[in-house]
Symmetry: C2
Subunit: 199 residues, 2 copies
DNA sequence: TGCACGTAGTGCAACGATGCACTTAGTGTA
DNA sequence: TACACTAAGTGCATCGTTGCACTACGTGCA
């Protein structure tokens, strides 16, 4: 087989951009495209060749981080005995530090754009997708269960997250609080609907 | 100032190719362009975009290694008091492990192409240039001295090299012995002539 | 001798990365 | 309000990288 080095170059740069964004986000400061490009050792234009916008970059980074959570959850759920949804979720909590990862993500994002609604939206959208995937995983294993139960269980799995998020909101971006509540409500509704349709 | 990322990309790939070649040479095996390209994580074609030939790559790697020797020698000679060429050469031997570096280079090159006259030629040509630069450095500091003395001193500085080279030749590539002797003779003549002309 | 095969090296067209000039939009300031 | 300034994002020409097909040459083998 032949390795496609043309794709390899693209992939390398894409990775470099994401890694740089992850580092910059973790450092807690806002950052510009120029900073991102410099950190990734690519040109500013290349960033826009790979991603539609800065938010696209950040969303991708967050999604990647939460995929760790999803993968861990999926492994726990699929490898465990069929007992009850509760034991699966409890097991996932023991194996993966879900609230820890998501809290880290949230704090980092808070630093990324304090007072910027974009940060909260990116966070909630990413976490929402993560929750949906986890709820779907549960529903696959327990098809006879009520989708509402799965959604609520996953929601409580993410509880630590919400607490941290709310805390951050209270401390640094009070004006987001109301919007945050709305987003979490709509998230729960979307989860139930998603599980019901089973994609 | 603006960083030229176009050049940066080129430089990065050039470095990757040289590093890969250095590693492959050090590992002691022969290697093809394909191996080199794969190791450097660039396409085969890019190797030829940067270097005219495989020998060009190897020569560059060797030259870079010997620049360590040259730089160390130059520092010792220029920073030391003007006393005698002999003390300078002795000082350089104390500071830099000249025979060690060159012997390593030779063993590595021997592995690169056992039975291949190219290896010996690359080695001798590279070392010859190194010797010339060192002899020139000596002649600059002691312009009244006989170029022959400078050449012979540098030659003796490289003595460990010759010994190792001769040993390797005897063991693994006897057929190169005669050619090696010729090369070293012509090297000495060229050194003297070079110093005499002072470039 | 003829032939398959591996490897060095080249020519070329397509694709990816880059520099630069440009528009757009938000923000602070006189 | 007007204006300077900063940063996001776009269009385009150019340069660097890559895949692929090709030639040339040495080597082993029937």
């Amino acid at each position: 087989m032949t390795i496609d080095r043309r794709s390899a170059l693209k992939a390398r740069h894409r990775r470099a951009i994401l890694d740089a964004a992850g580092a910059l986000i973790a450092e807690g400061g806002r950052f510009s495209v120029d900073q991102l490009a410099e950190r990734a050792d690519v040109s500013r234009r290349t960033v826009f060749n790979h991603f539609a916008s800065i938010d696209d970059v950040v969303t991708t980074v967050c999604t990647e981080m939460l995929h760790v959570v999803i993968d861990g959850f999926r492994t726990t759920v699929t490898s465990g005995e069929r007992e009850s949804m509760f034991t699966d979720v409890a097991g996932a909590l023991r194996v993966t530090d879900v609230p820890g990862i998501v809290a880290y993500l949230w704090r980092a994002l808070g630093g990324f754009a304090p007072g910027n609604p974009q940060a909260a939206q990116i966070f909630h959208a990413t976490v929402a997708r993560t929750c949906e995937e986890m709820a779907l995983e549960l529903a696959r294993k327990y098809p006879e269960a009520d989708p509402l139960d799965a959604a609520i269980l996953v929601s409580s799995l993410m509880n630590g997250t919400v607490a941290v998020a709310t805390h951050w909101i209270a401390v640094t971006a009070t004006q987001l609080d109301e919007r945050s509540r709305e987003l979490w409500h709509s998230l729960l509704e979307r989860m139930i609907e998603t599980v019901r349709k089973g994609y």
